[in-house]
C-alpha cells in the first residue's frame, strides 16, 4: 500500500563518489521491501516538476513502530542537485513504498553486482538476507575509483567479501564489473551462487544477465526508466520485453528476473 507522506529530512551528507546520503526523520510508514522505491520531491516550485524515484537504500524500525528511510543517490541532474543543496529540516514529499522488491535467495550464497550508484538498494537487501549460514558478496564497478560511492557500513554482513572493478584499473579489478562477474563465475563454476542480484545501467544489467544465463545462475535485476507517476498510470516507464509485451517498471518491477525482459530461456 503506497502512501504519500511529508517527512522532514534529518540528515544530508556526502557519501563519496559524487553521491549523497539522505536520512529521513522516523515516520508512521509501512516498512518497504528491499528493492522497492519511493518517489521523492523537495519543497520547491514547479521546476524541477516531477518527484524522482530512489530505491530505499536502508531502513530501520524505531520506537513506536516508526520507520526511518535512508536513500543513497548520485548527483547527476537538476533534481538531485537541488537535493544536494537542501538543508536538514526541510520537508520531503515521499510516495511509497512502490513496486516489487527483491526476493530471498534460493540458497546459501548470493552475489550483488552494482554498477556505480546501482549499489543503492544493496544495504537494505543485505540487512534482509544476511544469515549466519549465508555467504554474501558485493561486486561493484565504476569508471574510475573516485566514482565509487561509500559502502562501509554494511560490509560487516558481506561475509563473501567485496570486490571492486574500475574500467581504468585505478582500483581493484581492471575492467567492467561484468567482466569481473564473468571471471568470478568462471572460478566458482563448481560452487555457483544461488542468486545474482544486479543493479546499474541497463546495458550493464543486460550483459550481466547474459553472463549469468550462460553460467546457469538465476539473475534478478532492478530496472530503471524515467518515471512520471510511480503508480502505473502515466505509462512513462514501460519497456518492451523480448516477447513484444509491455513491462511497467514501476509496478511489474523495478526488480524482476532478467529472463522476463531479455531471454526466453527459462530461469534454471
Amino acid at each position: 500500500m503506497p502512501a504519500l507522506s511529508r517527512i522532514p529530512l534529518e540528515t544530508v551528507e556526502d557519501a563519496g563518489g559524487g553521491c549523497l546520503r539522505l536520512v529521513c526523520a522516523p515516520a508512521s510508514l509501512v516498512a518497504p521491501m528491499p528493492g522497492q522505491f519511493y518517489m521523492v520531491r523537495g519543497p520547491w516550485e514547479a521546476d524541477p516538476l516531477l518527484p524522482r524515484p530512489f530505491s530505499v537504500a536502508r531502513f530501520r524500525t524505531v520506537k513506536n513502530e516508526q520507520v526511518q528511510l535512508e536513500f543513497l543517490l548520485r548527483i547527476i541532474g537538476r533534481g538531485t542537485r537541488l537535493l544536494g543543496t537542501a538543508r536538514a529540516g526541510i520537508e520531503l514529499d515521499i510516495l511509497g513504498p512502490l513496486g516489487v522488491g527483491f526476493e530471498q535467495p534460493p540458497g546459501d550464497s548470493a552475489w550483488m553486482v552494482a554498477g556505480g550508484i546501482g549499489i543503492a538498494p544493496f544495504p537494505a537487501l543485505t540487512d534482509a538476507i544476511a544469515a549466519p549460514e549465508r555467504s554474501l558478496s558485493l561486486l561493484i564497478g565504476a569508471r574510475t575509483h573516485t566514482e565509487i560511492p561509500g559502502f562501509k557500513d554494511f560490509e560487516a554482513n558481506l561475509s563473501g567479501g567485496v570486490e571492486v572493478a574500475t574500467d581504468d584499473g585505478s582500483a581493484g579489478f581492471a575492467g567492467t564489473v561484468v567482466d569481473l562477474l564473468a571471471s568470478r563465475l568462471d572460478r566458482a563454476s563448481d560452487q555457483p551462487p544461488s542468486q545474482v542480484y544486479v543493479c546499474g545501467p541497463h546495458a550493464m544489467m543486460e550483459a550481466a544477465a547474459a553472463v549469468c544465463r550462460d553460467a546457469g545462475v538465476p539473475c534478478s535485476v532492478s530496472l530503471e526508466a524515467p518515471m512520471g507517476c510511480g503508480m502505473g498510470t502515466c505509462r512513462g516507464c514501460v519497456i518492451r520485453t523480448f516477447r513484444n509485451t509491455n513491462f511497467t517498471i514501476c509496478t511489474d518491477g523495478p526488480v524482476t528476473d532478467a529472463n522476463v525482459i531479455w531471454s526466453d530461456q527459462n530461469s534454471p
Binding site: A3, A46, L49, M227, C229, M231, V238
Partner: protein, 305 residues
C-alpha cells in the same frame, strides 16, 4: 452557507468541477489508496482504442522546465479488455466515469462511441481528436473545423451518452473549432490537450523521446491554455472543460474565471497524487470565503478590458 459546486454536462451531473485527465490517472483503481473518489467530480480513463496498443518504445517521457513532454503513444488495453477487466471497478466508484477514446477514422470514432456509450457504468465519453503522439488518429481531426465537426457528428449520432470533444491547442483560432464542434452536437469541449513539442539530447543528437516529438503538459502551458479556454468560452455556449497545467485550487478558480465550467487535473497527479481532492476542497473553501453560492458567479467572470 454551502456552495452548490455541481456541474452539468449533457444529462450528466458532476458533484464538483474536478475531473482527472485522461492518461494521468490510469483506470482509477491505481489511486484507490490515495484519492477519495467521492470528493471529486469524476475520473477520465486512459484513451481507449478499438484494439489494444503497446504504445511507443522507450524513452516516453522527458521533463522540461515546469513541464513534461510525453509520447506514450496511447498505450492502452483496447475496448474489449477495458470492458472485461477495468469497467467493473469503475462502476463501483462514487464519482462520474468518463471514457476517453480515439480511433483512426471518423467511422472508427462512431463505432467506438456506440460500443462504449452502451456500456453500463460509462457516464460520459471524451473523444480525443488531438493526440500529437501517434501517426494516425487524433491531431489531424483537431486542427480543422470541418474534420472536427465530422467526428463529433458521427460520434453524436452513434450514442446518447454525454459527449465531450477534446481539442488541440496548436491552432490559430480555437473559437472556430469549438463552435464547429458545438454545432455538431457535442455536450462539452475539453480545451485542450498536450502542446506539440520536442527536445533533443545534445550529446547523442537523438530526440529525448523515441517518437521524436511529444506533447508538453504541466504548469508551463497553463497560461497558454487559459487563453485558449477564454477564446473557446467566448465562441460557444456549452461547458468548456479546462485541461492544461492546473496544479492547485487557485488554478481551478483562474480557469473558471476564464470561462471553464470544469477543470481537469493531469500532470499534477504525478507531482501529488492527492491533488484532485485538494483542488476540489480548495475550490469549495474559496467559494465559501467569497460568498459564491453558484459556480455561475465564477464561470467566465474575468473582467476583460
Amino acid at each position: 452557507m454551502t456552495t452548490d459546486l455541481s456541474v452539468r454536462i449533457g444529462d450528466l451531473i458532476l458533484r464538483n468541477p474536478i475531473l482527472t485527465a485522461s492518461g494521468t490517472f490510469g483506470y482509477a483503481s491505481e489511486y484507490e489508496t490515495m484519492v477519495d473518489f467521492n470528493k471529486i467530480g469524476g475520473v477520465i480513463t486512459k484513451g481507449i482504442s478499438p484494439e489494444p496498443r503497446l504504445g511507443n518504445t522507450q524513452p516516453r517521457i522527458w521533463e522540461t522546465e515546469s513541464g513534461l513532454i510525453n509520447a506514450i503513444g496511447l498505450d492502452n488495453v483496447g475496448v474489449e479488455d477495458f470492458e472485461r477487466s477495468k469497467l467493473a471497478y469503475l462502476r463501483e466508484i462514487d464519482c462520474a466515469v468518463v471514457v476517453n477514446f480515439f480511433a483512426e477514422s471518423t467511422d472508427g470514432y462512431a463505432q467506438l462511441a456506440r460500443t462504449l456509450g452502451a456500456m453500463a457504468g460509462v457516464d460520459a465519453l471524451e473523444a480525443n481528436i488531438s493526440c500529437p503522439n501517434v501517426k494516425a488518429g487524433g491531431r489531424e481531426f483537431g486542427i480543422d473545423p470541418a474534420a472536427a465537426a465530422d467526428v463529433t457528428m458521427a460520434s453524436r449520432e452513434a450514442t446518447n451518452c454525454p459527449l465531450i470533444v477534446k481539442l488541440s491547442p496548436d491552432v490559430s483560432n480555437i473559437g472556430d473549432i469549438a463552435s464547429a464542434v458545438e454545432n455538431a452536437g457535442a455536450d462539452a469541449i475539453t480545451v485542450a490537450n498536450s502542446v506539440p513539442a520536442m527536445a533533443i539530447d545534445i550529446d547523442s543528437h537523438q530526440p529525448r523521446l523515441s517518437f521524436g516529438r511529444g506533447g508538453l503538459t504541466g504548469p508551463a502551458v497553463r497560461p497558454i491554455v487559459t487563453r485558449l479556454v477564454y477564446d473557446s468560452a467566448q465562441a460557444t455556449n456549452i461547458p468548456i472543460i479546462a485541461s492544461g497545467g492546473a496544479s492547485t485550487w487557485r488554478d481551478v478558480v483562474e480557469f473558471m474565471l476564464a470561462g471553464a465550467s470544469a477543470v481537469q487535473a493531469g500532470t499534477v497527479n504525478f507531482v501529488n497524487p492527492r491533488a484532485s481532492v485538494e483542488m476540489a476542497e480548495g475550490l469549495e473553501m474559496y467559494c465559501q470565503q467569497h460568498g459564491i453560492n453558484s459556480l455561475n458567479q465564477l464561470v467566465g467572470a474575468v473582467d476583460m478590458p
